[in-house]
Symmetry: C3
Amino acid sequence: MTNNQLTDSGQLRHFLTIEGLKRPLLTEIMDRAEQFSSLSNRHVKKVPLLRGKTIMNLFFENSTRTRTTFELAAKRLSADVMNLNIGTSATSKGESLLDTLHNLEAMHTDMFVVRHSQSGAAEFIAQHVAPHVSVINAGDGCHAHPTQAMLDMFTIRRHKHHFPDLCVAIVGDILHSRVARSQIQALATLGVGEIRVIGPKTLLPADTQTLGVHVYHDMETGLQDVDVIIMLRLQNERMEGGLLPSSREYFHSYGLNKQKLSIAKADAIVMHPGPINRGVEISSAVADGPQSVILEQVTHGIAIRMAVMSMALASQSEQNESII
Amino acid sequence: MTNNQLTDSGQLRHFLTIEGLKRPLLTEIMDRAEQFSSLSNRHVKKVPLLRGKTIMNLFFENSTRTRTTFELAAKRLSADVMNLNIGTSATSKGESLLDTLHNLEAMHTDMFVVRHSQSGAAEFIAQHVAPHVSVINAGDGCHAHPTQAMLDMFTIRRHKHHFPDLCVAIVGDILHSRVARSQIQALATLGVGEIRVIGPKTLLPADTQTLGVHVYHDMETGLQDVDVIIMLRLQNERMEGGLLPSSREYFHSYGLNKQKLSIAKADAIVMHPGPINRGVEISSAVADGPQSVILEQVTHGIAIRMAVMSMALASQSEQNESII
Amino acid sequence: MTNNQLTDSGQLRHFLTIEGLKRPLLTEIMDRAEQFSSLSNRHVKKVPLLRGKTIMNLFFENSTRTRTTFELAAKRLSADVMNLNIGTSATSKGESLLDTLHNLEAMHTDMFVVRHSQSGAAEFIAQHVAPHVSVINAGDGCHAHPTQAMLDMFTIRRHKHHFPDLCVAIVGDILHSRVARSQIQALATLGVGEIRVIGPKTLLPADTQTLGVHVYHDMETGLQDVDVIIMLRLQNERMEGGLLPSSREYFHSYGLNKQKLSIAKADAIVMHPGPINRGVEISSAVADGPQSVILEQVTHGIAIRMAVMSMALASQSEQNESII
């Protein structure tokens, strides 16, 4: 897979996956987000950067929360946003996905934000869009969720500054998590000292060796000397599928409570992509406690999405100008 | 219950209920609405007052009409509006209401407009939101609907000017009506001369004494010398619940037709919060007749909502400035 | 039926049907669209022409594609747009259509864009709206779809310039097609040399004589010397209704493939209102081939809708000024 998310001059055109992106680009995204972050405290939380641009949220899989953050980010950049629930529209008239896409493109759309239950959907769409369109992956199957990973990196940088000094542990269902996959790639690219994954054998991928991570099945051992703990959401589907015994038993082994948190470094931060299952993967005392930065992640999600959207569309207009 | 809808300096921070608000504040809301009202006839029906502000419509109970008026009011104030149908979103993933709220807050939302089938929902939310967020109650269970009450007061003031001289009758299902409850509180606060409630015993509250209203079970008697008649919508659920015989019988006793209207003062106005059931609580001749101000109420609803939204967010930015 | 879509001075107030409109007005719409068309290639695809105007999309029949084009057109004119799914809202509370309309009008709405499954719905609504409201027909039953017809005329003019020299063939289910009806009226008004309809007897209207079109049941004969081929979408409902044998057989007789296309003029263009049924009414080779202008039609749809919306609201403000 060639890296088709960059323009010839190396700028972000699509944002599909962390895989293959270089450290300077990830740093640029975070630096850009830092600028937008200060905007949120101003009286007018808005810049005219994308005025007159058309952004379409194509959510094949429902996710009010993620759609809301992208819609807000777009509006704060002054773009026009359209929400299309594709599942229930044109495709129900028997039109093919590509026909639907080409139609939306023909309306002079500048960007598709794509959420899909199938891995590779955003990349497939990016391969087929017209040159003037950017595609942002808002989560595709078990594959990638790059804006989530970048808001997590941004949150870590805000608290811990220097990535090479850090030990980061990701806890839970690594196997099925697009979030974990993108996080591991981002942490590795940013040169994090040590990346650990903690979970039961049934929920860990087979390729942990190639991922460059250390594997722990025992949470107490895995959390020792950790600077950052990233808890993953437990999908109830997994338990129904027989991969897990019960949520009570899961919490006992892999849920984060105060006792387990005390094993990590005293100033460790606790993260979670949300929505959290209180009492399943995390106790309320920890989720609402002083080391939790879970709500900060949500806040940073807006700034990161504004950064990625504005960078992708800036590279577009540059390209278009050079064509003209 | 302390009055937590005001800032320390007595300005509107939330707008949850009429109860506990003083006459000068209700008058200030109407004066403010008067300014926005003239806007509707201008070529550009829009002011940049809330540019860059984020307002989220949280409708746990579906109400296209009310949501539309709040969305329109927000757009005419140049705010960014998001419509979240909460019933079908995050909470369906098992997230608690408060977690959903704190997430939306973390996106630097400035205001929640809340509609909920349970009494007290808006107040509960207001008690738990961050200091930078305002909450507007767009109707909660049988409890309150304060913007509806204020648009009714505004409509009365437009036509009748001096509240102390007036006799106002509210007709119908007072017991279950959040609209009636808020209206009675507003009318009393504004010093209306006489407030009457008219309806069958099964649909009148037990505490009419403490409400300071006069009770009539016979509509003909109750309408004598009345300046303002407020008809309530008859919820079909009530009839199914056995509290009422039939819509035909209800109309005979408590429906407003021309003959009954003639008992009131010759210049009495007829109001209804909508949507109307023609032939159930009101005849078409009266609803469409010269004394009806029902559509004016809708028009004034936009101005009142603009007034309340702008006042709540103005008090916020004042507070934030004093913190900074 | 008097032509109630024009103001006394002959300007477009509503846009309900092509029927009764004169050639200069159709030309004015296309000239206006030409101006907006160039906008799409600019950095900021937006003009402040309708800033502060309120446009409501009233879709009684679901159509994401058409609604999206109207919403985009309105946003690029800087209007405030509201999407109301009327089927599931106020009318479900037992309110009459006219009461719903009058309520929305009372909110100082400037324009209704109406889609309805019943013929005549848009005209009915136009007959009952207040003087300050314009109505645009976005498709009503089997009756009319005037913006679709105008974007088709615009597409033809872009490629073929002089209407009187042209021979245009419309192929498929003419009988049930609001698109075909509006197209035939527009082509006739613009003085197209020859209009042909091609289809099985069961799908052709009885009044083809009065329509001034030439009828062909054999596609090969009908396509000879044709400059423009307009394929219609085959509604699956027709086949279920027994009017047609099977989609395979239909494609054999009336589907457009390369062989049949070769019968038309060498520079003939192929059009389709979308969404296309590949392999039913058109082959993929033709739909994606060099003579297809199907995606251009989508692009022009935005410009045409901007033209019609801005013309209707310009005539309104003129009228209002003359009243004031």
